[in-house]
């Protein structure tokens, strides 16, 4: 857990934004990791397995807030993300805030592809395991996301 607690927390935090929500989802994700450890298939990436559980937990939390049990990646819309800020939010660094806003404007699948590639430096194969998709599809999602972010950063001053 020591080597995954920070990356998993930040991954969830980038999706749900508020610290309190990220804390709840991260804690629940790690409890699920421990309780379902026997289900882990060693043929797959352990990191991807943990991040998949964490992503599902973040989507479950967003779904509960929307009134559903759990959302799929395709159901998460940009306006559901990034709406809550709290005291653990640093608004003094304008460019980092703008980058996060750009990411949060993306559809969830592109957001996931971008975050896992850019921040967590995962391979497309690992990202595909997390998202339940193919490596080729996630590569396309990442490149589209990157282009959209660049456009957002240049056009929204």
């Amino acid at each position: 857990m020591a080597s995954y607690k920070e990356p998993v927390y930040w991954h969830i935090r980038r999706l749900v934004v508020s610290h309190a929500d990220a804390q709840d989802a991260a804690q629940e994700a790690f409890v699920r990791v421990f309780r379902n450890f026997q289900q882990y298939n060693e043929a797959n990436s352990f990191k991807a397995w943990i991040f998949r559980i964490a992503t599902n937990e973040a989507l479950r939390l967003l779904g509960r807030q929307k009134g559903d049990l759990m959302l799929s990646l395709d159901e998460v819309t940009a306006d559901m993300l990034g709406t809550k800020t709290d005291e653990y939010f640093d608004s003094s660094d304008a460019i980092t805030m703008k980058l996060q806003q750009a990411i949060l404007h993306l559809p969830a699948k592109q957001q996931l592809a971008f975050n896992l590639r850019y921040y967590d430096e995962m391979s497309y194969e690992e990202i595909a395991e997390v998202a339940g998709s193919t490596a080729a599809s996630m590569k396309v999602s990442y490149n589209i996301a990157k282009e959209k972010i660049i456009a957002y950063m240049n056009n929204n001053d």
């Binding site: 607690k5 927390y9 980038r14 804690q27 409890v31 805030m97 972010i149 660049i150 240049n154």
Partner: protein
């Protein structure tokens, strides 16, 4: 168009910085919370088990009791009088009449008997 925009914004300007932070000691607390929840869950779902150590101790006590009863009958059988000197001699005789395994077991019980050791120290 996108290539032009790419020239204007460089991801290296931001790197991996984020506008988010966490309370001091948060990650250690997170780990503790998870371990506490996992442990609590295991205790709640775990069936009560008899510890192997308890079983071993029970067997030893029963064996010791059986050996004491056997020794009592052997001593009673070979004890002709009630004098102290005869008593020690009879105990020794009875001990010699035991099988080597029983002798070894009695010595083991005697050496591990906390109360007998305490008495020796008081003298």
């Amino acid at each position: 168009m996108i290539k032009d925009m790419d020239k204007q914004f460089d991801f290296e300007q931001v790197g991996k910085r984020m506008p988010y932070n966490v309370p001091d000691g948060f990650f250690d607390q997170l780990e503790q919370n998870v371990m506490a929840e996992v442990t609590a869950g295991n205790i709640a779902t775990e069936k009560p088990r008899v510890k192997a150590r308890t079983v071993k101790m029970t067997i030893r006590i029963l064996l010791a009791a059986a050996a004491a009863v056997a020794l009592f009958f052997v001593v009673t059988k070979y004890m002709p009088s009630d004098t102290t000197e005869d008593c020690f001699a009879n105990v020794e005789l009875a001990y010699n009449n035991l099988s080597p395994e029983d002798q070894e077991y009695l010595m083991e019980v005697y050496e591990e008997d906390v109360f007998m050791i305490d008495e020796e120290i008081e003298y």
